[in-house]
Symmetry: C3
Subunit: 512 residues, 3 copies
């Protein structure tokens, strides 16, 4: 096997130097497939590429277009602080001088990785985890690890209320004796739906044979794989998948900064950030003009590199003014500039203190930040002072283009929308409580009957949409008719219509 | 303060000449941040920029990328007529020789501007209105001012039927003694929903203190601000906001010509122009190829600058053939090439004569272009001859690519769709009339009960969608299943289902 | 007339050589409006252009940007096999040496073309059909002609079940004596809806006068024209419209490879390929990075020309690795890499053997691949072996980037989703059967009553959406809440709610 590898490596080096596919630069502006000084690839990575350039060429060439393939950590650390894309203060000598290749990432922390295995003479991990990325990017990984995103599985599945919603939505239904029977959801369907975004738990069940183009190989047998959900539980015990936003194997900052990335999970009807952005003035300017912007620059300069925000501008990028003043520090705790939580819960509320929201207990003893009637579990939520601090940090980004009067006017509208949409949810809750007390639906499971499902739509789809539209400089038609005021109003009317009908039919049964 | 300004101006001039951020041209093709001959900036604008390059750098740099920052009115007037982007015949001497900077726009007509105030030694207006833009663009402002767009607030809010719809959709609902109580909508929610597109009324309540980065300043206290709705009522008494389509501060013709701009307000479910365009062959070609087109050229040449239309091509741009023949004159009255009105009203009808539609009275005495059963208020609508003239003007645009047989075939389909979708609305109206006469819903407010709301969806969401899909060279799947024939058919079936159920329950109550 | 033509030709040649519009190349990278060696235009095409450059300049210039206007068949045939864009082995001498111009395409096979007519001294066809394109592209046309796409009209309209659905959806409804009466759909509405994508039947009714800019001309009077539906029945008896995906008159491979093209017909809610792609990781990477890719290259090299698939990569393009190995052969039978059919039918099933699906008969004698309760008409469907062969061909494309463990894990999820979504349809079917047996709806037409329409949504909109989301590397939020599990679950709950209500009201009527 080693002999074969040696020949393949020679072959690859020849290809690298001779192939017009790699050496040509069709587009001097954009093309990243630069010539590689092979001296800067570690011998192990050369071995990986020697085979994989043949067996999975797409990802090898994707990596060749990446900054990882062009830069050594040692060089990356020499940049001035604001321009640095690496947050480690020191990098071990065996890594510092090589570009960041296959082996550099897939061989980290082998003892912690239950998915570590022998492959063609090398010990590698199948899954690269945030703890592996931490080698060069410790600040980002630490920020991320405390966030709601890192805890995305637990926040959904360890919360009995949400777990009930998940089970009810994704379980197969059968009609048995005229009744709807809901089965437990399969792992595969959870994986394709809720946990596609939230992340799956990857465990090693053992080893297995795999037939590949070159013959048979032995590889770890992983549960719930492949998955790149943002809160994935990795075989090394860490939480998260950096590839959720920096897709393999270019790990591009440009991709992460473009709204298409956030759009994969943050969209209609439950989290319509993308849908609202598209209709907003910011989105209008982005789509019309971003071909002229620099989506790769670090730091990222308002007015110069970009002229309207994408998701990343407001929520996590390092933003500076053309004179170099820092408007916002980089963060990978994506909630850290947010003071209020607009979606996913029955009522809006201050952001939770901990990224792990399964610790919350409200007045009714439920693991929710508010009760069904809106009372807040304040001890688990950030206080007024912290809210104001975060609002100021967001306003500082806005102030890159807008004056303070404009900004204050904008956020005053959002505050009003929050109050009014919570009232619209409250009205729907009152109707559901009536349905329960009339005995036309049963409160033991609040998600499995049609009036309950209309109530769920009120907050999970409609009230949150109106709030998003208000938060993101406006998507007025979306808030009026697409998902918003029309829908909240119509939903309440239809809840009442069905309650009246069902009560009337039930009463007649009773009085007969 | 004057001393500070002087220092800041010197600083700014230094920055302009030295800053690599401004002087570098990363992309010779696209970059508009050209070096500015500071001699062409008015002294007042230099003062504005001296501070705002620091305090709101984003908009300063956006402006630096604009044609306004590169061209003086005197130069703009020298172009051959078809290439002119300025319609004034004369420009006063104090403006003609300077590029169009902050002060040039924000200082116009101070006596008419109730929002005029003293700011750092200068008297400026917060809001720049169409009447200010009129200085250089009088033809466009005059065209716009007579349009339905300029009257967008009145057309919605001064019409009692629409006002009832608005109130019912956007008012907060409370459940009181089992009944739905609808509150009056708040100004903030109107502002975030309907008036976000239609425009708000901006009034000056007085002056107020504002905390900004540099300390405290005194500014006008405006109602319903910020807003850039197309029919905005401005503090100088004028109607409209040019920034609705030419967003600040690049005021780009490219942005206005791209469909993302129109998409902000003209979209699903009530005005699905954008949604239909995306699915049309024209949209397909635009999205696939526009990176090769010239979206900035004036005049705009079919086949050369663009190869498929965007919204602007058909509705308002100056279009010429490669040999220079004018296919369509530029207009900023966006209805002026349209002979029939497809959306927003119960039935299709000829375009109204006046952009102010609140003057209309139909046979039932209502301010609508048709009665509930479809009879037209013809004296307020354009006549056959005017319809044909406008249709010819549209066909002239189509003829840039399509032959007359193709064009005639296309518009014959639209004419048929209009008749049939109006019949589908008529069927829903008949069902609603039945519900009213059966006493299961109450006609005093035609928008607040669920069968009425299904009727509203029939014309406001579904019939109009099928018409749009027909008008814009086809979005057949949209018209079939997304919003269109399936929905109209299913909606009628569900209206009937609920009427039968409710009537049956009511009858039993009565016969007991 | 001939004299006029001669002058126009001279004029055109002058324009071609002198016009800065044609000669300038604004963008050396992208601009295809190259100088034309007029010697390579056939005299007939020169005559066409002489007039049409004036009368329909848009399409002339679109063609000028095409490969057709730059290349002669003789030159196209000289390319190495993998790079050839022409599949004919021989081209007749009268065509080989001229570029592919107006006359070359619009004059083919005049005897078969019932739409052939005399126009300005030339005999031409209005409609260019696949059989005309076959002159140079015989392999593609033969592949296409056996596909489901080519049979798209018959597959819809010659199937009595589907025909009933079509009639019910698109027929105008009237309310007569309180009952819903459905009229037969008009040809124009069929043309604007279902047949917009499936294709119309183009027949020649006779000749007619047409008023055009130059006066009156006599042209064929065609039914159902214009249309570019993929299964169009042409006046020469052939099936299909190449322009459905290669829009006139650039006939660009780039346009066909971009997902916007497929999106015109394959979209929400019945065929949400586009909607799912947009939310997938592949879509995310495409939208973020395609400006750097080569969408025109033949062959198309994974990793080099593109880094994530569009529709064409997986379904029909010739894909090679950077070393030149063929990962997938080109095909214009778009089902030929697919082993299972996910949409459009009540239950998933193996792909049909024949592209003409009207030949299928199931156990109930219906022309459907399964019965209403899911039993497969296996003799009309491909067998296990063929399914596995096709799955392997698809995996070979995936393997361009992904390892086999990843790929197997992905398709195992899809297999599970197929089973579970079919079970969700089965549950809805059982509820509908209950409604029929209870007598609350009537089974003679399975599409015209509201519970039946809820059943239709279950498979036509929701189950298929969940399957698409599973098939295309994941659109988890789409499958959870947009169109998928939430909707299937909620729809079953609402079907049950209405059945219970209507049964209860009916029973009371009966017991009175």
């Amino acid at each position: 096997m080693r002999r074969v590898l040696f020949v393949l490596i020679l072959l690859f080096l020849f290809v690298l130097s001779a192939s017009p596919g790699l050496a040509d630069k069709k587009d001097a502006e954009h093309k990243k497939d630069a010539e590689l000084s092979t001296a800067r690839l570690s011998p192990s990575t050369q071995a990986c590429i020697a085979c994989h350039a043949q067996y999975t060429p797409g990802i090898v060439h994707d990596w060749l277009s990446s900054r990882h393939s062009q830069t050594t950590p040692a060089d990356a650390m020499k940049k001035p602080e604001l321009e640095r894309r690496i947050s480690a203060d020191t990098i071990s000598e065996d890594l510092a001088g090589y570009v960041v290749g296959c082996y550099e990432c897939h061989s980290r922390n082998p003892k912690k990785h239950k998915d570590n295995f022998e492959h063609m003479g090398f010990r590698i991990n199948v899954v690269v985890s945030p703890d592996d990325c931490r080698t060069c990017h410790p600040v980002e990984v630490t920020q991320f690890s405390g966030s709601k995103k890192a805890n995305a599985i637990k926040n959904l599945m360890a919360n009995p209320v949400y777990h009930t919603l998940v089970d009810n939505v994704t379980g197969v239904k059968r009609i048995v004796n005229g009744k709807i029977i809901t089965e437990r959801p399969s792992e595969k369907t959870l994986h394709e739906s809720c946990l596609g975004c939230h992340g799956t738990k990857i465990e090693v069940k053992g080893m297995k044979q795999l037939v590949v183009a070159s013959g048979e190989i032995i590889v770890p047998d992983l549960t719930n794989w492949p998955n790149q959900g943002v809160g994935r539980e990795n075989p090394d015990g860490s939480l998260g998948a950096c590839t959720a936003c920096h897709p393999r194997h270019a790990f591009s900052i440009e991709v992460a900064r473009k709204p298409y990335t956030c759009a994969q999970c943050h969209e209609e009807p439950d989290v319509p950030a993308w849908d609202v952005y598209k209709e907003s003035k910011h989105g209008n300017i982005f789509f019309s003009k971003y071909h002229e912007w620099d989506m790769n620059a670090v730091p990222w300069t308002v007015g110069k590199d970009f002229k309207a925000p994408t998701c990343a501008v407001c929520h996590n990028s390092l933003i500076v003014s053309p004179s170099g003043a820092v408007l916002a520090e980089r963060t990978h705790d994506f909630g850290s500039r947010m003071w209020v939580r607009l979606f996913g819960l029955i009522y809006s509320h201050p952001q939770p203190v901990s990224g792990d929201t399964s610790v919350i207990k409200n007045k009714d003893g439920m693991p929710l930040p508010t009760t069904f009637t809106g009372m807040k579990a304040s001890e688990f939520l950030i206080d007024k002072e912290e809210q104001e601090k975060r609002l100021r940090s967001m306003k500082s980004v806005c102030n890159g283009c807008h004056n303070m009067d404009w900004i204050n006017g904008h956020f005053a509208k959002l505050a009003s929308t929050i109050l009014e949409t919570d009232a619209m949810t409250q009205a729907a809750t009152n109707l559901m409580l009536e349905a329960w007390s009339n005995g036309i639906e049963d409160k033991s499971n609040p998600f499995d009957e049609p009036i309950e499902q209309r109530w769920t739509k009120q907050w999970l789809f409609f009230a949150n949409s109106a709030r998003y539209a208000s938060a993101m400089t406006g998507a007025p038609d979306y808030a009026s008719f697409k998902h918003g005021w029309w829908n909240m109003t119509n939903n309440i009317a239809e809840m009442k219509e069905m309650i009246d009908l069902k009560t009337s039919v039930k009463d007649k049964k009773a009085t007969k």
